[in-house]
């Protein structure tokens, strides 16, 4: 039993049926329940000490958003940081490819679609499908999770069970979509 309830129960019993033992012991029971504290512990702070404490507090603030800032029991699996990570993969690839395509005539690289398709066709099936899956999953996840975040932006679907179910739906559907895109298309 929670210790804080002891005094309450004693008081209730004393109120319902007069009992000499309890009515005599109520003050003691109530005292046993009190928290004890020392005298005021706030020292006078010099301004530079206050600055130091503030700096120490600010160092403890998390840099957000990152992967360990979310609760596994709630939004971790569908968090926006996953959309950001998967999106950064594709945006980074787009930036690298386009920049490389601009300087390709100077360096002599062959980045035309025809030579890229040839290179892909020459790769073994397992490698090709593996790479396709590794590209298709982040794509599907970014699409689905991004769509869900657009829905969330209308302040819809913040029930905890709906959040959990949504995470399951997003992970399974993105994995199924990625498998389909990698091996069937």
């Amino acid at each position: 039993m929670n210790s804080s309830r002891v005094g309450v129960r004693a008081l209730r019993q004393a109120a319902s049926k007069p009992n000499t033992f309890f009515s005599h012991n109520i003050p003691r029971l109530a005292l046993a329940n009190l928290q004890t504290r020392g005298a005021a512990t706030t020292p006078t702070l010099k301004p530079e000490d206050a600055q130091a404490i503030l700096a120490e507090q600010r160092k403890r603030r998390p840099v957000s958003p990152h992967l360990s800032a979310y609760d596994y029991g709630q939004t971790w699996f569908g968090s926006s940081i996953w959309t950001r990570i998967t999106g950064s993969i594709f945006s980074g690839s787009l930036y690298l490819f386009s920049a490389a395509y601009v300087i390709a005539p100077l360096t002599g690289w062959h980045l035309e679609s025809a030579s890229l398709a040839e290179a892909a066709a020459a790769a073994p099936y397992a490698l090709k499908s593996g790479v396709k899956f590794l590209l298709a999953w982040p794509f599907a996840f970014h699409l689905f999770n991004g769509t869900r975040h657009l829905v969330w932006d209308f302040a819809v679907g913040f029930n905890r069970t709906i959040i959990k179910q949504g995470s399951w739906v997003i992970w399974t559907s993105s994995l199924v979509t990625a498998l389909g895109l990698a091996f069937l298309v």
């Binding site: 210790s3 301004p47 530079e48 000490d49 206050a50 600055q51 130091a52 404490i53 503030l54 700096a55 120490e56 507090q57 600010r58 160092k59 403890r60 603030r61 998390p62 840099v63 957000s64 958003p65 990152h66 992967l67 360990s68 800032a69 950001r84 999106g87 950064s88 945006s91 787009l94 930036y95 490819f97 386009s98 920049a99 490389a100 395509y101 601009v102 035309e112 679609s113 025809a114 890229l116 398709a117 040839e118 892909a120 066709a121 090709k128 396709k132 699409l143 991004g146 769509t147 657009l150 932006d153 895109l181 298309v185």
Partner: protein, 190 residues
């Protein structure tokens, strides 16, 4: 009863251990700015318990925060940024509109199986803006002006230059090659 006292005990023990470790490392590395200020260290060691009491979540060191710059006194409020017509809620809505517009543009060409230069050009433009805004948000979050003012400016200008270069590249690819949608389709089905 144990469950009531355990979190506090754990937090205090962990904190005491980390303080000792930090004090030891600061003493070992005299070049550290904190080591130069012994008053700072003693104050921190003395008051860290009280500081920790206000932080309910545990410490995460996956992305350590950058150097701390405190302007003015401890009681100065955080500065309110100047209102700007292209920032704030308009910017936020613009980001979402671009993202929402990309959904049909991404799915439609592959679903319909047709090649339309207009759709492809729109897809490229929206992808470029979407990527640019996304990278901007990443820089704003992880390279805060208050901690890395110079690096923040450099990152933003590097991003602007990269976006222009990528825009030129996408234009070249669209005009000289088969277009983004068709290229992805050919490589994917190769």
């Amino acid at each position: 009863m144990a469950s009531i006292i355990r979190p506090t005990l754990l937090r205090q023990t962990g904190l005491a251990a980390s303080i000792t470790r930090r004090a030891a490392s600061a003493a070992a590395a005299p070049t550290s700015i904190f080591a130069l200020n012994s008053a700072f260290r003693s104050t921190v060691a003395k008051d860290a318990m009280r500081v920790a009491a206000f932080h309910a979540s545990s410490r995460r060191s996956l992305l350590p925060p950058g150097p701390q710059v405190i302007k003015g006194s401890v009681n100065d409020p955080a500065p309110v940024p100047e209102p700007h017509s292209t920032h704030g809620s308009y910017h936020w809505t613009f980001e979402r509109a671009i993202a929402a517009g990309l959904i049909p543009l991404t799915v439609a060409p592959f679903a319909a199986g047709t090649l339309n230069p207009g759709t492809d050009a729109a897809l490229c433009a929206l992808m470029l803006v979407h990527s640019h805004l996304g990278f901007q948000a990443v820089i704003i979050d992880y390279v805060p002006t208050s901690r890395y003012p110079g690096l923040r400016k450099a990152c933003m200008w590097l991003l602007n230059a990269a976006t222009v270069l990528v825009g030129v590249g996408l234009y070249e690819f669209e005009t000289n090659d088969v277009g983004v949608t068709e290229a992805i389709k050919r490589v994917w089905k190769a």
